[in-house]
Point group: C2
Chain length 594, copies 2
């Protein structure tokens, strides 16, 4: 029996206040789950600066865009005899959740709240509602102990909700300035992905240039796992890890982890990051094997990079996995991808298997060079031209792109034209790539049947695992990791740092030994052409084809294709076997920190 | 780190034998999970017969169809000073899994295997591969301790796989006879849903009429929850439960439960049956609340009855739930259903909520009388006529049905015409009802916007939760319940019973106090017109609109519609809080057995 519980409520609605809700047994049992802190956060510390930083690319451009912030050092908390930060200081801090949900967001907020309680008693924490729009509209709530308590270790972003707005125009920056002045903010913590952290950096630079006292910190969050930094590992003692042959930027799953770690145990991988997707894939695999007559095409989250797909593949061993980065590197066409799938289906059919599981990243078609050209052209055309119903706009496409566009199934054509997101991207999440592939595979298999090269039965089932996985309860590992990110961000804002992103490292060790600090956001930046202009962006971390995880997958995929080596991770466990698997698997056999 | 493990292999393929696989930590930890047995199965027992039975309907027809079996008593195991069954008898028993997967199938097999080991040492258990087709083709495997071990407490049906074939024609019955003669079978256990248990009963009658020694037992399995019996509760001491005002045929979730039980605690419900679907719905709810801009339309398993949808609603408190049985009883049209949804969306929009979660049973459109007429006509026409491309076949439809057919979106028309399943049913699982509803809701909201009655923003997201939930690891409750069903079936076959379905009761009490026995399959039967002929069928248990669970839902739905009372059950836990919730919730406040 689950207890009734009063939680605060529903920031998505302007009209609601607190309301009574009920928690399930499992939700309730998580609230008081004790969160360990790294040792450095449990005793006096000082903040040590690293060497001057540069940028991930185009340093001259970045220096121009961020004249105050460019070159900043990373910062690291180290034990000290006394605290260097005054506990008498009463801070006013704002926090905002930006972009799509990932398990652990509430724990970042719990972390910074507890920091302020522990180290700057009397401080006030404001939660901006509904994402960056809340900053611009000065829509906020005071986050006190009662307000935060029911959200501890809970999934979702519903404590203050999130949004995808960006602070971009001069008017919007002005609104943000007015808000931080009105609330007299000492600091602002922006929890989000690459675009949101870029925005945080722009805000930090802007406030600095206007002589405002408000410091801005970023916190890495992306379920797509495409936020990374090359500088962080060395800054944070992962030299050993960087030098070993099998390396991997841990970047899948829930909150992004800014470290290079090696994996050795993928074959024996247990539920870790992306645990809900892997659980569902494992169930579908057992279903496929039990039924013996379906090919399940599973599309997974991952707009710009295929980390989740690769991670799920390494955990569950599907028969076929398409990694976008490989498709791009090898300049594969849609026909090539279809043939690869069809070849395996034919081989399996000869062995008596007319079933299987196929993983596809949601951004796949964006990785296919011919499609990429088409989308780039569409992005440019749609930004400037009107799409007429007679299709005259198509004349602006190059011949190659026009041919491809006409070749696509009409449903996919339509989806490509749909309204794009606020960042100007084609909404690949809305493209049902898995259904498109099923159609193409069916057509090709029919041809092969005619030619006598295939005599099996093919039935495709399509799945998209997206919304079901973003708001799950965070695992024990994610809960502790996100809490440390928030707690550490509090320390850095307290120390007056700005333009950094919160970084927690040495994750292979027990929590007590984790490192805590921040990395200059400008050091993660490059410039990129968007809407026809150069803009600063945090370079997305792609699956690296020369690195361990992909290599591991590459060495095993032929085996998985033909034989069935399915692994079913099962549901996330909070106690008992498997409940602490994550931290083990993340950094198994990781070298000790330098 | 998950251990490597050798499991037996892949009965779906004719060419494979044993192969090395790997288990996740959680899967591995479940293998040795200790399964409790009801006390009556742990000491000497005798079998006691109940009163003569009748049929669920058309007893005269059933008596004609089952001249040997009709009227059989139910049987119950009761403690005795000595065992009445000889432990020297060496039995040869076959077991088959039939139809779609449900968590716990492997435990039924473990149960009957352990019974034979414990009580009839030296017996042999044959597993027919790939469902009833395995019986007809005499495709089997000997299930020894090594073979079964890795599947203990595991999800799926992959130990011997399943299939949807039926043994129907005289030739097929002949094949089945040859198989049981060839293997010299004393008994056969058929684990399946309503159709499969009907088939088991036909086999039992057939073997009896041919003087074959092979006894046949059924075992209830259906994730749809539409297998029930009115007789079982009284037979098995549930008089108390039958008499109380709030009653409910527990029928959702994994293995069907043949008992009437009352619920009081739905508001505080925790993860129980259908736990994977409820987990996913709960995650989607938190996502909806965090994002604040989507209506999630979730289609759930449940072809003929809406038990899963109702159960998930009672566990998670969605804003809107459509119960097929209510739609049918109130003779609602598609337009009525659409208006009901749209009215709530408009009210919520006025309150500032432009998001929500809506549950729909997969069989919904089959419940709508106008659609039902259309489908009945289609079933008859498609059984006898050729569907010509010019649409001349449509002339055979009545005017009303033709109008409706032409009114449906083309994609739905197409899906209605798709190849039907071996039982002759339109494959409603393939109809994307949730997408159809989104289209209809969009159109209606647009109208209301024009009329100034709505000024919100509507964005629909569609989900189908099906294959992801059928093969999950069984909960502690399901594992124990299914094990007892199998163990008890072994005892009844040992005693020479035939034509019964395994029944385990008193589930609200500790496992030790559970009752064990069997119910006459003919007592569950009625006749029904299929393919233009009368056939014996086990009547599907529908959601009863006058019973507690629906009444509870009905009394709360307006509250859930407008306010947000979402509950997120979280992942299944095998240890710690929530891990034993199922048995509590099933029978909370159930009266003691008579």
């Amino acid at each position: 029996m689950a207890p009734a519980f009063v939680i605060n409520g529903d920031a998505a609605s302007p009209s609601t206040g607190r309301f009574a809700s009920v928690y399930s047994d499992v939700q309730f049992s998580r609230i008081d789950h004790a969160l360990p802190l790294p040792s450095v956060l449990k005793s006096p510390f000082k903040i040590v600066d690293g060497p001057r930083s540069s940028a991930a690319g185009s340093p001259d451009e970045i220096a121009k865009l961020f004249p105050n912030l460019f070159g900043q050092s990373s910062a690291r908390l180290v034990p000290n005899d006394v605290n260097t930060l005054s506990s008498d200081q009463k801070l006013k801090i704002g926090v905002v959740l930006s972009g799509g949900q990932a398990p652990g967001g509430h724990n970042v907020i719990s972390g910074i709240f507890d920091y302020l309680q522990d180290r700057a008693k009397g401080s006030v924490l404001y939660g901006f509602k509904g994402g960056p729009a809340g900053i611009m509209k000065c829509k906020y709530v005071v986050l006190d102990a009662d307000y935060i308590y029911p959200y501890r270790n809970q999934g979702g972003f519903d404590m203050i909700c999130s949004g995808r707005d960006k602070i971009e125009t001069p008017e919007q920056f002005k609104q943000a300035e007015e808000t931080v002045k009105k609330l007299d903010l000492d600091g602002l913590l922006v929890i989000g992905g690459d675009d949101s952290n870029t925005n945080a950096c722009l805000l930090a630079e802007n406030f600095w240039s206007k002589d405002l006292k408000t410091r801005v910190m970023g916190c890495p969050k992306t379920i797509d796992g495409d936020l990374k930094s090359k500088d962080v590992p060395t800054s944070f003692g992962f030299d050993t890890a960087c030098k070993i042959d099998i390396t991997y930027r841990i970047s899948t799953g829930t909150f992004n982890i800014l470290h290079v770690v090696r994996f050795h145990q993928f074959l024996l991988g247990s539920a870790l990051d992306v645990p809900i997707y892997s659980e569902m894939i494992g169930n579908v695999m057992i279903d496929a094997r039990s039924t013996g007559k379906y090919y399940h095409f599973v599309r997974l989250m991952g707009r710009a990079a295929s980390h989740i797909t690769l991670e799920c593949a390494l955990q569950t061993h599907p028969n076929i996995t398409i990694i976008g980065e490989e498709v791009a590197a090898k300049q594969l066409t849609l026909k090539n991808v279809t043939d690869y799938i069809v070849d395996i289906i034919c081989k399996r059919s000869d062995l008596g298997y007319n079933y299987g599981v196929i993983l596809v990243p949601e951004g796949l078609i964006d990785f296919i060079p011919e499609v990429q050209h088409l989308i780039a052209e569409l992005n440019e055309i749609l930004a400037h031209a009107v799409v007429d119903e007679d299709g005259l706009w198509k004349k602006k496409l190059t011949n190659q792109s026009l041919q491809l566009f006409e070749f696509l199934p009409p449903a996919i054509q339509e989806q490509l034209m749909l309204e794009r997101d606020p960042h100007g991207n084609v909404q690949v999440a809305k493209i049902e790539t898995e259904k498109m592939l099923i159609q193409m595979v069916e057509t090709e298999l029919e041809k092969r049947k005619q030619m006598g090269q295939y005599n099996g039965n093919f039935k495709g089932q399509s799945h998209f695992f997206g919304y079901e996985g973003r708001c799950g309860l965070p695992t024990n590992f994610d809960a502790a990791y996100c809490y440390a990110l928030g707690y550490g961000a509090g320390a850095l804002l307290h120390s007056g740092k700005t333009g950094l992103i919160s970084s927690v490292g040495n994750l292979g060790a027990p929590v007590a030994e984790w490192t805590v600090g921040g990395t200059a956001l400008t050091s993660l930046m490059d410039v990129e052409r968007r809407h026809g202009k150069f803009k600063p962006v945090i370079k997305k971390a792609m699956v690296e084809l020369e690195c361990g995880p992909f290599k591991k997958y590459e060495s095993l995929r032929n085996e998985w294709a033909i034989n069935n080596r399915y692994v079913s991770p099962g549901p996330i466990q909070f106690t008992g076997p498997g409940s602490d698997a994550i931290s083990h698997t993340l950094v198994l056999e990781l070298g000790a920190p330098a």
